[in-house]
Each structure stands twice: as structure tokens, then as C-alpha cells.
């Protein structure tokens, strides 16, 4: 396994040394690493006062261990991590599996040295947001109602922030939307800045609505529900399989399944399924040349008018208007 020690930071002075440590180079906003390590891209950007970001879309061609030791402890890194493959976070001998179907959102204090191991063949779509602690505090001053929630992600013993959780379905689609943009276009920097704002806003909204309750769920139940989510996404083209079926797949009673699903995703299984179907239908309309009828058929909507009604409900405009004025 390849080993490399590096640092991150809100100020982008880490970029050069990062590229150097991995025998790569910096070109514009890209860090280009040798193909032996990974193919794909890493894009970094200074977003706002006290906030910067790195967006990655790549495939690892080797096993690698990143040891992160930062020089400053004045920021928090927020990782939206949609790795498909194996990715492990190790801090103080405690391991956490990260990735799309594991913990896919984590908050890590910059003062904590840790290892991050990715296995060869892992496909990574990931956005790291580096944000100064003073920016977070400033924000809390303006919104005192959020103070208690922030305390819940602070570890008071060490006065550090560490949290592993799952991103909302909305956040997931914010990332997917960003992923669909062309990184070479000059507008990409705005798309990325926008995504960063949306993700932060979405998290704050979830905090105020008390939707973040993952911590109170036991680990096995959490795994089962995540598996069930994965099943629904994989079968997004088909009709909703029904609560009874899903519950039995997860070895739970229907009522336990429903309660847990809602607790973890903030949505009922049915709403989760339908929302994703609709987002998929929009993606198909944008990215393919399928007609509305074809999309509705492909995704097995009961009938076209039902599709039209739900689309309009969710996006505010009907599919016909949508494609007309794309």
C-alpha cells in the first residue's frame, strides 16, 4: 500500500505540497496526480471568506493510505463522500466505513490527525468543504436557536468536532447535480460555490427541523435501512415493492421498518422512492432525448397524467413546460 502524509486547510497553501507529495502537479484549479494513483479529477476552489472546497470525481488505481496531519486547528472539514468501494477512516484505532452506502457525511476537526484508506478500484465522488470555526461561530451568533444542535456535534471532552452521519436525500441530489456539470466550463466555479451554499443550508435546515437523529439508532438497524435504501435506488425503474416486502428483507416488522426509515432518512419509504424517481425522471429529460411518455414508461409510473401531476408538485412546473424551456 502507498502511504502519504499531507495536510489540508481553508487557505489553499496546502495544494502545492499535496501535489508534490504525490508526485503530481497543479494546473489552474486542478491537482493532477499520476494515473498510477488515480484517474479522474480533483478541483479545488476558494469559495467565500473562510470557506474553501475540493471536489473529486475519480477512480483509485492503487491502495493508498492518506495520513492527514494539519498545521492549523482553526477549521472543520466536512466530507460528502459517495465512494463506491472500500474507504475507511481511522482515528485513535477506531474505524469507520465511509462511502455512499455507509456513513457518507462526516465532520472532522482539523486538530485530529487521522488515516484514510482507500482500496484500488474504488470509485469516488466526493466534496470536502473546509470551513473556519470562526465562520461557524459567527453564523451561530446570528441564529442562536441552532446553538444546542452544534453542541451536539462538539465533543466537549476534547472540544473538537467529530461526527459521522448520513446526508439527506436532498444533499445527495445537490451533489449529483454538481456532478452532472462540466468541470471545464468557466461556470463550474459558480456551480461549485452554489452547491457548497446549498449543502450548508440543507444541513442547517435539517438541524432546525430536528431531522438528524441517526445517533440514536443502533448500528445494525442503521445498516439494514441503508441497505434497503440502496435496494430502492437500484430498483428505481420499477414499481414500489411495498412496505411488507421491504420490511421482511430487512428482517423487521413493518411498523418498526417504517419508523426507522423515517428516522434515518427524514422521509417515508414511499416518499423516498417517489422523490428519487422524480429526480431520475428530470435527469433523463435533461440528459437523454427520451420523450415525456418514454420517461414515464421507463420509470413505471402508473400512468402519464399521474407522472405529470407528481412532477409538477415536486418541481413547480410540469414536465412539458420543463423540456420546452430547458
Amino acid at each position: 500500500m502507498k502511504n502519504v502524509t499531507h495536510r489540508y486547510g481553508v487557505e489553499l497553501d496546502w495544494v502545492e505540497s499535496y501535489a508534490e507529495a504525490l508526485e503530481g502537479k497543479v494546473e489552474g484549479n486542478f491537482i493532477i496526480l499520476p494515473d498510477e494513483i488515480h484517474t479522474g479529477f480533483r478541483y479545488f476552489l476558494n469559495c467565500d471568506y473562510g470557506i474553501s472546497a475540493q471536489f473529486m470525481d475519480l477512480v483509485y488505481n492503487t491502495d493508498i493510505c492518506f495520513r492527514q496531519v494539519n498545521e492549523s486547528d482553526d477549521f472543520v472539514a466536512i466530507y460528502y463522500n459517495l465512494t463506491e468501494g472500500e474507504a475507511i477512516f481511522i482515528e485513535n484505532d477506531v474505524q469507520n466505513q465511509l462511502g455512499r452506502w455507509n456513513y457518507n457525511l462526516s465532520f472532522i476537526d482539523s486538530s485530529l490527525p487521522h488515516d484514510y484508506i482507500v482500496k484500488q478500484g474504488s470509485k469516488v465522488i466526493s466534496l470536502c468543504i473546509f470551513i473556519k470555526k470562526e465562520v461557524i461561530k459567527e453564523y451561530l451568533k446570528k441564529n442562536p436557536s441552532l446553538k444546542n444542535h452544534l453542541d451536539s456535534i462538539f465533543d466537549p471532552a476534547q472540544n473538537t468536532i467529530v461526527k459521522f452521519t448520513r446526508m439527506s436525500n436532498k444533499s445527495f441530489h445537490i451533489l449529483m447535480n454538481l456532478h452532472s456539470k462540466n468541470v471545464k466550463e468557466e461556470s463550474f466555479s459558480f456551480h461549485l460555490k452554489a452547491a457548497v451554499q446549498f449543502l450548508l443550508a440543507d444541513y442547517i435546515e435539517a438541524m432546525t427541523l430536528d431531522q438528524i437523529v441517526i445517533d440514536t439508532v443502533n448500528e445494525f438497524d442503521l445498516k439494514d435501512i441503508i441497505k434497503s435504501q440502496a435496494y430502492l435506488i437500484k430498483n428505481i425503474d420499477y414499481v414500489f415493492p411495498g412496505i411488507d416486502f421491504l420490511a421482511s428483507e430487512s428482517n423487521m416488522s413493518a411498523s418498526k421498518y417504517k419508523t426507522l426509515f423515517r428516522k434515518i432518512t427524514g422521509l417515508t419509504p414511499n416518499a423516498f422512492f417517489l422523490n428519487n424517481k422524480l429526480l431520475e425522471s428530470k435527469r433523463l429529460l435533461v440528459e437523454t432525448r427520451l420523450s415525456i411518455t418514454e420517461v414515464s414508461d421507463k420509470l413505471n409510473f402508473t400512468n402519464h397524467s399521474y407522472f405529470t401531476v407528481k412532477f409538477k408538485e415536486y418541481f413547480g412546473i410540469g414536465p412539458k413546460d420543463f423540456i420546452k424551456q430547458m
Partner: protein, 333 residues
């Protein structure tokens, strides 16, 4: 009629100035970003924030109580104003003395203006006015609104030349979805400030993508066809007081066969030329009814050529679910 004048600048100075003016008229400052309009002028408020260097946003959600002209005076700050109108009804923007309808229903919800020219915004009275403006430093858009674009858009969008950019267009679907989401939020939501920054950046990105690449509409309508259809649409909008000119004349204008013309028009506006014309006509009727400039209902109706009042009334009823008399505002003199 009430008149408010203001200017725009890249930094928040203009906002402070306008806020002071509004306070004198009875407005209220809720916080640094949010100002309630004077109660006698309008119900509602507007929100302003700086997003990044060179980009700020204003969003307003108001119902005006009396006719008003919002005059924007030109300044030397090098910026473009991108106006998104998502109001329930159509509003008017006057540029160089010419009135342009802007709004979601007109299919023309997007307007782009140069800060180097004046314009006047004339919102509907008694209807929810929901609009958003991005103030964008020209540097940020330099590459996007290139000379080619201005030249190109001259043909179908640019309405007044002399290098002072001004054009309008429909709002693209993705942006519409964003506006729809923001319309359902309140200015006091805890994440609103961050959220509106996200929206502004995304709209700007979308704007750049759209006018940088000038990709033609999906589902296969060429720019040229779109342009031809637009000419006929403008013709219809310019002749709302007249009789419907007939598809033969319109197809002729677009230099197409009748069947091609009607099917293309339908594809773009999701209605036939005639129902489009009637819908717009009724919106105009509605505007005149509520304008408070006519003594009687038949005065309003007689503005329209060659048409039976009963027919007009029934059309109006189908569209708005009310008789014209119910919405009529008599002139105060």
C-alpha cells in the same frame, strides 16, 4: 401615482440609501438584510445580500396597494442587472420610453439590463409581485456576454442597441425550479441567507452556461425557427388591441407553412397561436380593468377593436373565473 427612485451599486451603499428613503415613507428595517415596505404603498418586504465579491442579490415579495413607478437611475458602476420575474401577473418594464411586459405568464420572465441605462419598473397593483435581481459586476460575466452574443441576440432579443445591453427571454426550466423553491420559503427561515446565496450563484452559473454556449432548445427546434416564432409572438403581443390576425398571416411572417408554423408554435408555447393571443389579451384586459383609468366598463372594452362585449366577457370569465365588472376599478375622477 407613487414614484420611488433608486440606484444600484456593486456594494451595499445603494441599499442603505433606499432604506433611508423607505423609512421616511414609513418602512421598517427588520434586520441588516430585510426591509418591510411602507404599509401605505405595499404589503411585504424585500431582502438584499451580498453573495460574493461582484455579485449581490435582491429579492422582493410584495403586493402593491397603489400604482407605483420604481425608477432606477443609471450610475457608473460597471454592472449588469439580471431580473427574474416570477410574479403571479405580468409587470411592465419601461426602457427608453418603450414598455415591455415581463413575467412568468408572458413566457418572458428574464430581463437583462445594463446599469448604464435608466429603466422603470411598473408592477401590477393588488397582485403578488415576486421577483429577484442579480447585480453582477461586468468582470464576472465578461466572457459570457461576449460581442458575438450581443450581435447574435440583436436579431431576436436585443431591443435597444447602442452597446447598452438589454434583452429579455424566457426563464429556463432549471432556474424556474430554483425560483419555485425560493418562492415557497420565507425570508426569516434560518438557512435563508445561505440558501439565497446558493440560488444566486446557481442562477448565475446557469445564466453563463446558457448564453455562453447558446445551445439550441432540446427536442430539436433550431435557433432560426425559434427566432421566426418569436417574431410572430412579438407581433401578437404588439397587436393585442386588434383582432386575431389569423394563422395564415402569422405563418407568412414566420416564412413557414401553416401546419409547420402551428405545430412549432405549440411546441414552444404549449398553446395554439390563437389561445396564446387570447390569454395575453385577457391579461391586458385585466390590467386595464384594474388600472383605475376608465370611467365605465364599456370604455375599457371599446379599447378593443371589432369585438362583441359579451364575447370578451365570456372569455374573461373562462380565464379568471370572474366577471370583468367584479374586477373593474373605476377612475377616481
Amino acid at each position: 401615482m407613487v414614484e420611488i427612485t433608486h440606484k444600484y451599486s456593486l456594494t451595499s451603499e445603494w441599499h442603505e440609501e433606499l432604506t433611508e428613503k423607505l423609512i421616511k415613507l414609513g418602512g421598517e428595517v427588520v434586520n441588516r438584510n430585510l426591509v418591510m415596505m411602507p404599509k401605505k404603498i405595499a404589503d411585504g418586504s424585500f431582502y438584499y445580500t451580498e453573495v460574493i465579491q461582484g455579485l449581490s442579490v435582491i429579492i422582493w415579495d410584495l403586493t402593491y396597494k397603489e400604482p407605483i413607478l420604481v425608477k432606477r437611475l443609471k450610475t457608473d458602476d460597471d454592472l449588469y442587472i439580471i431580473h427574474y420575474d416570477f410574479s403571479d401577473e405580468m409587470n411592465l418594464i419601461h426602457v427608453d420610453g418603450v414598455k415591455h411586459k415581463i413575467g412568468y405568464k408572458a413566457n418572458l420572465g428574464l430581463g437583462v439590463f445594463d446599469n448604464g441605462t435608466d429603466n422603470v419598473f411598473q408592477p401590477m397593483v393588488g397582485e403578488r409581485v415576486f421577483a429577484m435581481r442579480l447585480l453582477v459586476a461586468k468582470d464576472l460575466l465578461k466572457a459570457s456576454i461576449s460581442k458575438d452574443f450581443v450581435k447574435d441576440s440583436n436579431k431576436n432579443r436585443l431591443k435597444s442597441g447602442r452597446n447598452k445591453l438589454f434583452f429579455y427571454d424566457h426563464i429556463d426550466s432549471e432556474s424556474k425550479i430554483l425560483l419555485h423553491v425560493i418562492k415557497s420559503k420565507t425570508f426569516l427561515d434560518p438557512g435563508f441567507d445561505i440558501y439565497i446565496r446558493g440560488i444566486s450563484l446557481q442562477l448565475l452559473a446557469k445564466f453563463i452556461d446558457r448564453y455562453n454556449n447558446f445551445v439550441s432548445l432540446p427536442h430539436s427546434i433550431s435557433e432560426k425557427e425559434l427566432e421566426a416564432i418569436n417574431i410572430t409572438k412579438d407581433y401578437l403581443l404588439d397587436n393585442l388591441f386588434q383582432k386575431f390576425p389569423g394563422v395564415i398571416l402569422l405563418a407568412d411572417l414566420a416564412e413557414m407553412s401553416i401546419s409547420k408554423y402551428t405545430s412549432l408554435f405549440k411546441k414552444i408555447y404549449a398553446s395554439t397561436p390563437s389561445s396564446f393571443f387570447w390569454r395575453e389579451k385577457m391579461i391586458l384586459v385585466d390590467m386595464l380593468l384594474k388600472s383605475g383609468k376608465f370611467n365605465t366598463l364599456s370604455d375599457v372594452m371599446s379599447e378593443f377593436d371589432n369585438i362583441k362585449i359579451s364575447y370578451l366577457t365570456s372569455k374573461y370569465y373562462t380565464q379568471f373565473g370572474k366577471n370583468p365588472s367584479e374586477n373593474f376599478v373605476e377612475a377616481p375622477w
